[in-house]
Symmetry: C2
Subunit: 327 residues, 2 copies
DNA sequence: TTGAAAGCGCTAACAG
DNA sequence: CTGTTAGCGCTTTCAA
């Protein structure tokens, strides 16, 4: 069906190796022959067989992206960033969704690892040890997770939380509730810690109401506990949780923001559409995806390179869900 | 690094061909040797190299999924269905997002086609001719699109629209607006047609307000025109558009549903969270994804099989955004 | 039931 | 600068 290197060689009247070189290392071949080969290749619509090439070079030209849940709008943004950068480098992307299941995550990672040159693990929930084991025999870049000195792209959660607390403190809030995400989530952890520091610095009380699923239902579930803390403001693990909070507060006739201010994190599209629109920390999701691939490609070309870590700042977006503390 | 067939053969004291057979065609090999080979393979943690196998069998064990926009929650659901079914068959999935760009779509499809056994094209915007051309040299299953007799999984849009119109007509609505999606969208077309028929059957006026981008902004943009039609109910291309409508109507102080009833399509998670919650047509998205892979795998195993078409029904979910026609 | 041999499409020494 | 040779890891005739 498809033309092979030999077909091109035959047509151009040269050996297969010359064709191979003319196409991959043009400098090593006489301009005249190079042109002849190119013409032949074009006329046959020749496209190299990646599998065959990979067999010998050991590179597949594919990478894998593993993430917890595509239904959370945070992740599609990351996917877009990853794909954009990958496409530019002519590499294809396997995408795997773990459904927030730690066991499935490791299985998927291991299965993918054998078929790709490298892996981007986005917000992985697995144990640090397991991730290190994977990284020992596959090139891996972490996204939104730090494990020892594995290469990683992360958001500056600490700074984000500082901005959120500063904002609320300036509005007179003295007691802030924190609705955490999954216990296995590194970012939830980071945010919680950043929050502790920032609230100490601002002299406000921080009340943690526990861990909740990182979506709408989690927010619904957390709302009553938040209210019970007596806090005048709440920061949620992410926008989805914040929107769930909003829904439940609305149902209970607790006015936002007049009685309770609500802050989300991520800035997913939906957060601008909620009622009231959500104050949130915008995270450069696509950029993070692009950068992760960038790091991965660098590492693949130069395995000896030191593992890099890139920290991306987030920024506070003030919208209608936060206002001055009551009375 | 990884163990090869030869390593296993050596350890088991047999030839590579025997190992190959013991693992892929166990019946053709003596139970005793088979066991020996299996033990050897396990102890080495042997995993066959897919690329090498593909080189000879012509099958990669990979499929591709191309879709317009992961940021539209409709598509992640499809992805999940596709991945679930693919995983069960031990095939990996390349995912490509075209960003609703027709040209990019064809490029991606062509690029992917060479690296996979088959392709699932979800809601493709390309011309029928182009899709047929692709299908001529790659196994393709269409999802949410019909082109001649290519294999496809589709939703019964006509019936869905009938349900929507019946619902609104029963509530006394006599003039219904339709906000269409992208002009290149097959499903928008189908829905429009279904709507024409259903409204004729129910004796209600249908007013088409044109084509809009299939997301929140599209709904925002369409809202004023919808109001100007004097319709008492509006059906939107999808839930995202419907939610955009809701937002703009809210901003203009036009009460939903008392003054205007709003119906969406898809039943994305967000539609249950909007204010008011959205009446919509639920589409079995994951199931469609699973089915598409199912068809694809069947076709790959039996290329001679007649192209099948599966039609999945949607069902009306009545929520707070629809009520009786005013006065 | 098993092994030897050939070869999928390509790249990478190594000569020339 | 170019051709020859060897082989990546696997499956599949073909004989034995």
């Amino acid at each position: 069906m498809a033309a092979t290197l030999r077909d091109v060689a035959r047509l151009a009247g040269v050996s297969t190796s010359t064709v191979s070189r003319a196409l991959s290392l043009p400098d090593l071949v006489n301009p005249a022959t190079r042109a002849r080969v190119r013409t032949a290749a074009d006329s046959l619509g020749y496209e190299p067989n990646k599998a065959a090439r990979g067999l010998i070079t050991g590179r597949t030209g594919n990478i894998g992206l593993v993430l917890p849940d595509l239904a959370n709008p945070f992740f599609p943004s990351v996917v877009k960033g990853v794909q954009a950068r990958a496409r530019a480098a002519d590499v294809a992307v396997f995408v795997a969704d773990t459904d927030e299941d730690v066991a499935a995550e490791m299985d998927l990672v291991r299965a993918l690892a054998k078929q790709v040159d490298g892996l981007v693990l986005c917000s992985p929930r697995a144990e640090a040890e397991d991730l290190k084991a994977i990284a020992a025999d596959t090139t891996v870049v972490l996204l939104n997770r730090i494990v020892d000195n594995l290469p990683a792209v992360v958001f500056d959660h600490e700074d984000g939380m500082r901005q959120a607390v500063a904002h609320l403190a300036a509005l007179g809030h003295r007691r802030i509730a924190w609705v955490g995400g999954p216990a296995a989530s590194w970012s939830s952890d980071q945010r919680g810690q950043g929050l502790s520091q920032a609230s100490a610095a601002h002299g406000v009380d921080l009340v943690e109401v526990g861990h909740f699923p990182p979506h709408y239902d989690g927010g619904m579930a957390a709302a009553d506990q938040v209210v019970a803390t007596g806090a005048t403001a709440v920061i949620a693990y992410n926008d989805l949780v914040a929107i769930g909070l909003l829904a439940r507060l609305h149902a209970r006739n607790i006015p936002v923001p007049t009685r309770l201010s609500v802050v989300g994190i991520d800035d997913i599209a939906m957060s601008a559409m909620s009622h009231p629109a959500l104050t949130t920390i915008r995270l450069p999701k696509q950029q993070a995806g692009r950068l992760a691939v960038e790091l991965l490609l660098t590492l693949l070309d130069n395995p000896a390179a030191a593992p890099e870590r890139r920290v991306l700042p987030g920024d506070l977006l003030v919208r209608a869900s936060t206002t001055e503390a009551p009375q």
